[in-house]
C-alpha cells in the first residue's frame, strides 16, 4: 500500500492505479459485516434495490407487498456499528401505494428529488421524494416487469417499460404519455436497459429467449438480435431463428463503459455480448442457477481491475470475473432466494435483498490490525455489537 502511495507521489504510477488496486482488494474481501445492518421494514420479499448515483447515499427498496422504503446508507454517528435507517416509506396505509408487488424502483439519474417505481398492478409511478406523492402515473395493459431510464441521456427523457405484452413501450416524462412502441418480441419483456454509452441505444430481454438492441430513433425495427452461435450476419431470414439463450432471458446488465452486455437466462447460463457488434464473446460462466419467473436484478462492480459480476444464485450471491468467467466466491447469508443486488461504487459495498425479507449489507473486511501487546490490552471489546455480547452469567456470582 505504502509502495503504491510512494509510486503515485513520485509519478511512477497512473493516479487511478492505486484506487483500482485498493477497490479490487476491497471487493475481493466483501463479507457479511456484523457492524452493519439494514433496518427491517419489509414484511415480504424484496424485489428490487437501487442506490442513487449522485452521492451514493440513499437506497430505495421495493417489496412484493407494494411497499417502497428509502434508506440512508451513510454512517455519520462515528460509531462503527450502524444500522441503516429507513428515512421514509410508502407503506400499506399510504393512499397511493402500489396495490401489488413492486418490480423495479429507480432513482432519477441526475437528482434525488424524484424516483420511479413500476409494479404488477400495471402502473408506473413517478414519485416526488420530498413529499412522497406521485407526480405522475402511467397505466399499462399488462403487468410491468421492468423499467429503466437512461443514465446518460441529455436529449430525451424516456423511460423504457417492459410489460407482459411483447411490445416495449417508451414513456416520455416531458409530455407524460407513451411516445413510442417497439415491436419485435413475441413474448413478455422481462428486462430493459439503456446503454450507458449511447443515449438512444436500448437493450431488451424477453421470455421468447431473445435479446434485442434498438435504436429508438429508428422506426423500422431493432438493430440486432443476439445469436448465441454467432451465425450469419446481415440476413433478414436468419434473424428470425436467432436466440440468445435457450430459455427465458430475465436479466440484463451493461458493463460500466457500455461496451459489453451481460445477460442471464433460465437455461442456467450467463452470456457476455459485445454490445457494438452483437457478437457472443463465448465467456463461459458455468451453471448459473436461475429459477426466477420474473426479472432478476444483478449488478457489476465499478472501478476494479478485473471487473466482477454479482449474480443471485439460489440463496447465495455468486461473484464472477466478467471477462474470464471464473467463479471467485459465493456470498452466503440469505435464508431464502435472493432476487436483487446492487453495488455501491464509492465504498465498494454490496446490498442484496431476497425472499426472506432481509436486506443484507456486504462490506469489505477491514485489514487485520498488526498484533502488538499495547493494543491488545487497551482495547478490550471497545465497540462490540450488542448482539454479540456475552449475556451469560454464572450461577456462582448470583448465588
Amino acid at each position: 500500500m505504502l509502495g503504491f502511495i510512494a509510486a503515485r507521489q513520485t509519478g511512477l504510477d497512473d493516479p487511478v492505479r492505486l484506487r483500482r488496486v485498493e477497490s479490487t482488494r476491497r471487493v475481493l474481501s466483501l463479507e457479511l459485516n456484523k457492524d452493519r445492518d439494514v433496518e427491517r421494514i419489509h414484511g415480504s420479499g424484496i424485489n428490487t434495490l437501487d442506490i442513487e448515483p449522485v452521492e451514493g447515499r440513499y437506497m430505495l427498496s421495493g417489496g412484493s407487498d407494494g411497499v417502497i422504503v428509502l434508506y440512508d446508507l451513510e454512517n455519520l454517528s462515528r460509531n462503527p456499528s450502524y444500522t441503516c435507517k429507513a428515512l421514509c416509506s410508502v407503506g400499506r396505509s399510504h393512499p397511493d401505494v402500489h396495490r401489488f408487488s413492486v418490480e423495479t424502483v429507480q432513482w432519477y439519474p441526475h437528482d434525488t428529488g424524484m424516483f420511479t417505481s413500476s409494479s404488477f398492478d400495471k402502473t408506473l409511478k413517478i414519485w416526488d421524494t420530498n413529499t412522497l406523492q406521485p407526480a405522475d402515473v402511467f397505466h399499462f395493459e399488462g403487468t410491468v416487469y421492468s423499467h429503466h431510464m437512461s443514465p446518460v441521456a441529455t436529449k430525451h427523457c424516456l423511460i423504457a417499460v417492459g410489460t407482459k405484452s411483447p411490445k416495449v413501450q417508451l414513456c416520455d416524462l416531458k409530455s407524460g404519455s407513451c411516445s413510442h412502441i417497439l415491436q419485435g418480441h413475441r413474448q413478455e419483456v422481462l428486462a430493459v436497459s439503456w446503454s450507458p454509452r449511447q443515449e438512444y441505444i436500448l437493450a431488451t430481454a424477453s421470455a421468447d429467449s431473445r435479446v434485442k438492441l434498438w435504436d429508438v430513433r429508428r422506426a423500422s425495427g431493432c438493430l440486432t438480435t443476439f445469436d448465441q452461435h454467432n451465425g450469419e450476419k446481415s440476413k433478414a431470414s436468419s434473424e428470425a431463428a436467432n436466440t440468445a439463450h435457450n430459455g427465458r432471458v430475465n436479466g440484463l446488465c451493461y458493463t460500466n463503459d457500455g461496451l459489453y452486455l451481460l445477460t442471464i437466462g433460465t437455461d442456467d447460463r450467463m452470456r457476455l455480448w459485445n454490445s457494438s457488434t452483437g457478437e457472443n464473446t463465448l465467456v463461459n460462466y458455468g451453471k448459473v442457477c436461475n429459477k426466477s419467473r420474473k426479472g432478476l436484478k444483478f449488478t457489476i462492480s465499478c472501478g476494479c481491475n478485473p471487473e466482477f459480476a454479482f449474480v443471485p444464485y439460489g440463496s447465495t450471491i455468486a461473484v464472477y470475473t466478467i471477462f474470464t468467467g471464473q467463479l471467485i466466491t459465493m456470498l452466503r447469508g440469505h435464508y431464502s432466494t435472493v432476487d436483487c443486488c446492487v453495488f455501491q461504487p464509492n465504498f465498494q459495498e454490496l446490498y442484496s435483498g431476497g425472499k426472506d425479507c432481509n436486506i443484507l449489507a456486504w462490506i469489505p473486511a477491514l485489514r487485520e490490525p498488526v498484533p502488538d501487546d499495547i493494543s491488545e490490552k487497551s482495547l478490550p471489546q471497545q465497540h462490540l455489537n450488542p448482539a454479540y455480547e456475552d449475556a451469560w452469567s454464572s450461577s456462582d456470582d448470583e448465588g
Binding site: 509502495g3 428470425a240 431463428a241 435457450n246
Partner: protein, 254 residues
C-alpha cells in the same frame, strides 16, 4: 526496502489467494492453453467406444466433457470455436438439450457419413452436400436462403433430412447432424441415468472415484465409466471433492 515489499505483498496477497480456486484432485489441472484443450479432446475421444456401434460413428466428444479436464471453460469454448472456424472440427446438435453440443473431427465425420449412405440413391447428393456446403461454411445450422444459394432446392433438403445429415431447427433452418446418432444418444442417456442412480443410491450420495473405477460398471453404462464420468463432471451433475484418499464424487445438489 524489505518493509515496503512486505506491505506491497500484503496489498496483493488476499487478491492472489482469492483469485485462484483450490485445485481439485491430486494432479495439476492443465491451464486453458490451446494445447491443453486439444489434448483433452484427444483424451476423451480415445475413451469413445467405437466398437459398440459397429464402427458406424466417428469418435464423438461432448463439449462439456472437456470442462472436466480443462478448468477454464471460456478457453475451451473459444478454442473450439476457433477450430470450427478453421474447419478442423464440426459442432453438432444431438438432441440432448439445446446446450449440449457434440464435437467431431471433420475428416472422420465425412468418412462415416459417406459410409452410412453408401449404396443408397442419396449417396451422390450427400457427397455433393459435404463437398459444397459442409466444407464451405462451418456454421452449426443452415438457412433456406443459404442452401438455395449453394444449389440445394427444397427437394434436396428433404432428401438430406431423410438421410439424417440435416435435422429441423425451425421453419427454414436446419441443424447439421450425424446419421445414426440415435443409438449413441440412447446408450448415452441410459448410461448417464445408471451412473447417477448409482451415486444417488450410495451412502451419503457420494462415491470415491477409485472405488467407482474398480467396481464392475452398472449394466446401463455401456459407453464406459470414464467417458460418462467426464460427462457428469462437466455438466455439473456431480462434484469432485478432494479428500486425502483421492477424489470423492458427490451429487451436485447436495
Amino acid at each position: 526496502m524489505s518493509r515496503r515489499r512486505r506491505l506491497l505483498c500484503e496489498t496483493f496477497e488476499p487478491k492472489r489467494r482469492r483469485l485462484e480456486p483450490p485445485r481439485a484432485g491430486g494432479e495439476p489441472q492443465p491451464d486453458g492453453s490451446p494445447g491443453a484443450v486439444e489434448a483433452a479432446l484427444r483424451d476423451v475421444a480415445a475413451l469413445f467406444p467405437r466398437g459398440l456401434f459397429g464402427d458406424s460413428l466417428p469418435p464423438l466428444v461432448l463439449r462439456h466433457q472437456l470442462y472436466s479436464l480443462v478448468s477454464d471453460r471460456t478457453a475451451v469454448d473459444r478454442h473450439l470455436n476457433h477450430l470450427r472456424a478453421e474447419g478442423r472440427i464440426r459442432l453438432l446438435h444431438l438432441g440432448l438439450g439445446a446446450d449440449t453440443l457434440g464435437v467431431v473431427s471433420t475428416e472422420p465425420y465425412k468418412e462415416k457419413v459417406l459410409a452410412a449412405v453408401a449404396g443408397t440413391p442419396r449417396a451422390g447428393l450427400v457427397r455433393r452436400f459435404l463437398d459444397a456446403a459442409v466444407a464451405a461454411c462451418p456454421e452449426l445450422s443452415y438457412e433456406q436462403g443459404r442452401l438455395r444459394a449453394l444449389g440445394f432446392g427444397d427437394t434436396d433438403v428433404t432428401q438430406l433430412v431423410a438421410a439424417g445429415v440435416l435435422t429441423v431447427r425451425d421453419a427454414g433452418s436446419w441443424w447439421l447432424a450425424l446419421p445414426g446418432v440415435g443409438r449413441f444418444v440412447r446408450a448415452f442417456v441410459r448410461g448417464r441415468r445408471a451412473l447417477l442412480g448409482l451415486v444417488r443410491r450410495s451412502r451419503h450420495r457420494e462415491v470415491p472415484l477409485g472405488e467407482l473405477r474398480q467396481r464392475r460398471a452398472p449394466p446401463g453404462a455401456r459407453l464406459g465409466v470414464g467417458y460418462l464420468l467426464h460427462d457428469l463432471l462437466g455438466a455439473q451433475l456431480l462434484r469432485s471433492v478432494p479428500t486425502p484418499s483421492g477424489p470423492m464424487l458427490r451429487l451436485a445438489e447436495t
